[in-house]
Symmetry: C2
Subunit: 107 residues, 2 copies
DNA sequence: AGGAAACATGCCTTGACGGGCATATTCCTT
DNA sequence: AAGGAATATGCCCGTCAAGGCATGTTTCCT
């Protein structure tokens, strides 16, 4: 079972997530058509996304509807949050520096 | 040249970034010691991180100091932002639902 | 100058991943 | 029951990444 970061490393998988974000609850066929990938590929990528906890499946007769699972992003968010804090502080420092260097002005 | 998501997929590389976040500007030897990885491995991971734009090198004599490059995370943030918007909306919806289902109460 | 320190890099091997094809599975239709 | 639709999965193959080892490169020290 691979983790979330691993799942997000693949462009096709991010594309699938984007597609679901625009319209959640698509069935495999729709994704295949919209992304121009093979059905095999899409199914496999969906499996990875499911194992990573990023999507859920809803069985509907012979088709399966895929839904985003927001909690799946939690792990990413948790890792990213401290880093965001770090870099925002850095940008603030830069802004301060610029303010002191070019008071009341832009560079 | 691999992209940021690819770079972040490797646990060792995230560990390096964490290490730099705690104390920015470490030299390779420090990272090797603190992470318990081989020097070869660390150097290679640093190369990937540099190519991804996540760190910069500062040459200091025979050692090289590595610094976080916050702008590198931009790509991740840009991709993530719409998704965060999505899942926060979902959580709000869930909260609303709970509020209507258990008014003035917790479940 | 000679040697050690601190990193980087080339080579090799192993393992994992993604793609495609064929096939299995499940369900619907008639 | 039979056939077809919608997905999943097993297998094979090519590619690529990660780890380890040895070696190269640059810089410092004496």
């Amino acid at each position: 079972m691979r983790d979330v970061f691993d799942a997000l490393a693949e462009p096709a998988r991010r594309a699938i997530l984007d597609e679901l974000r625009v319209r959640d609850g698509r069935v495999v066929g729709e994704l295949v058509e919209r992304l121009g990938l093979s059905q095999t590929s899409v199914s496999k990528h969906l499996k990875v996304l499911r194992n990573a906890g990023l999507v859920t499946t809803l069985v509907e007769g012979q088709q399966r509807r895929y839904l985003l699972r927001p909690e799946g992003m939690r792990e990413v968010e948790d890792w990213l949050a401290p880093h965001r804090a770090f870099w925002e502080r850095r940008f603030d420092d830069l802004a301060d520096h610029l303010d002191r260097t070019y008071p009341e002005e832009g560079p």
